[in-house]
Symmetry: C2
Subunit: 360 residues, 2 copies
Amino acid sequence: MIGAVVVNLKELSKLLNLSQTTISRALNGYPEVNEVTRQRVLNAAKATGYRPNIAAQRLATGRTNSIGMVMPIGADRDTDLHFAEFLAGMAEVAISQDVQLIVHPSRPDDEEATFRRLAAGRSVDAVYLSYIRRGDTRIDLLKSLSLPFVVHGRSLDGPHDYPLLDIDNAGAFVDATRLLIQLGHRRIALLNGPDNLAFAISRHEGMVGALSKYALTPDPDLLQHSPMTEENGYRGMMRFLDLAEPPTALLCSSMVLALGAVRAINQRRLTIGEDISIIAHDDVFPYLKPENFSTPLTTTRSSIRAAGVRIAERLIGEVAGLRAEPQQEIWKAELIVRASTGPARKAPKPGGSRPAEAAE
Amino acid sequence: MIGAVVVNLKELSKLLNLSQTTISRALNGYPEVNEVTRQRVLNAAKATGYRPNIAAQRLATGRTNSIGMVMPIGADRDTDLHFAEFLAGMAEVAISQDVQLIVHPSRPDDEEATFRRLAAGRSVDAVYLSYIRRGDTRIDLLKSLSLPFVVHGRSLDGPHDYPLLDIDNAGAFVDATRLLIQLGHRRIALLNGPDNLAFAISRHEGMVGALSKYALTPDPDLLQHSPMTEENGYRGMMRFLDLAEPPTALLCSSMVLALGAVRAINQRRLTIGEDISIIAHDDVFPYLKPENFSTPLTTTRSSIRAAGVRIAERLIGEVAGLRAEPQQEIWKAELIVRASTGPARKAPKPGGSRPAEAAE
DNA sequence: TCGATTTCTCAAAGCGCTTTGGCTTCCTCC
DNA sequence: GGAGGAAGCCAAAGCGCTTTGAGAAATCGA
């Protein structure tokens, strides 16, 4: 096995006294080549360390065997953590299918150009799109381009007539909110992601919807939209706790926000699950698990890595032309009750607008 | 600006009544083309949405304008967090230099094959290598391949005669250990990364070296090697605290480990910076900052994102052929003292092992 | 036995670019 | 006015693969 020197088809064909055609076919498993010849070729290829030149292969076939990921850079860099975990999922599939993963970093204002370049330059077979924003134009752009894609998440309005995979964000937060209400909580705060991102908006809507089902009105003071850092979790929670009438329960859009919120609560010497209940959304990070919080956290769980796996599979399927209809896939998040949720300590203040008695 | 239809050089040349040569040259900024012609070409290219086919470009030039990252998958998946941050750094550079980032997931047992494939397939111009292990053979392999590379980290033994960027892991932990000793600490524990990874070994060596300078012997009971998760931080710290003679100070190889350690300490109602001092290594994550811990953490700091930036720059330089000598670059980590380090509470007991007073 | 298949192999075209080498013009300068 | 350059353009080769269309050899059927 020679290291440095690179051998190509022509040389191999000279070496074996066979045409390039035959060698190419032998290597790529075509049937019209004699089995003993094939073995001869295979052996020689291994002996010389032959690997096809990928650029040439791509040019000839028009396929690139690669999927592109447009990685947001700049403003929402706090999402790295999720991106990494998602990437790990895609990687699992990529490796088993022998597909390259191409990361295209792109600033938000430049994304459109990036997609156009990808499509026209034929540098990837398919792309995945994420971090969908309010009024996002990228989906329409992709629909107009002849480039297979799958969206992780979905647009807020407009028809969902494109391939997508999303979790039921609204549903998850409806479930979480309902649980809290049933436990007697009336003042429920939300530490959410940036307010231009679709997932955050949906979660907020889920919460508001659940509240209104029980004739509760959301208090704007109990809402924070921000990048999902520990620090923002802490700050937000501190602000909530400083209110004249602090919340008795908290919803968190991410584990990292929850980390900060817990710190704030501890600092105030309040007891989680008693003085204040918490439900966080858990994207399942191997290094930060809700069950390992000082008070194990009740969560709505959906593995973002699994989403990466699934989307990679579907992208590969799209390329292979297996797609029938644009496929919409919505995953339910699982509500897992742990120790951070308990009955509301005190009944909501009697005066003022007393909410309807929620059913049980 | 047409969306779906893809135009190529030939069509453009027909459209403009110019040869492909001239168009190619106009587009790529060669001097031997008339300025008005160039403008004509540029306009037409923009109007038709022309983008060169990347595969063709690569085949013709032999350059790929891409750098490969072999992403470890499987066993050390806990390192994702660092990988992501590093990736973000590389991405910054990639975008400004118009270079693609290709992620090659690879299982440890398969890495060698992956590199060979990369080199022979000419699918990337250069690669970066990380997560160097004890007795790692990959560096020698890369040296034997005709593929530019930069190593993030370095081998434990053997000459460092290859391009590398590393932080002074040993030095950082010498500094940290010395500070603790000067504060009067004698029993210092270490929560480290996996014991087959070079960076972890160097840190351990740094600590041991500093101890021995003060004639202190490391206690094997005060050492844990493990993947760097919150859970492992908690478990390790708990074990330390349960010792007959628990440590009065702790070194942590990562912020995430520190997170777990802090949880353990809080649970035992000990006070950080008084009952026990902590110094953690901080790779600088935007979402988890040491100054935001309930007790701000003293750290050895070195931005892994900055390392990504630098390595990307150097890789691009290597490809451009700017390299003179293999370049070794060692960054010092900065020791930043915050509230988590304080004087040792009690001198270590002279006599036998007195059980720890688990407060309350 | 001979024509019809089947099996195996090959030469050559083509993918869409870049780059070499050469060919016109048009100046410039003595 | 003509040698010598410079400026601007082009035809064609080539990058290393896949794939088409065809041909030689072997096998088969009757």
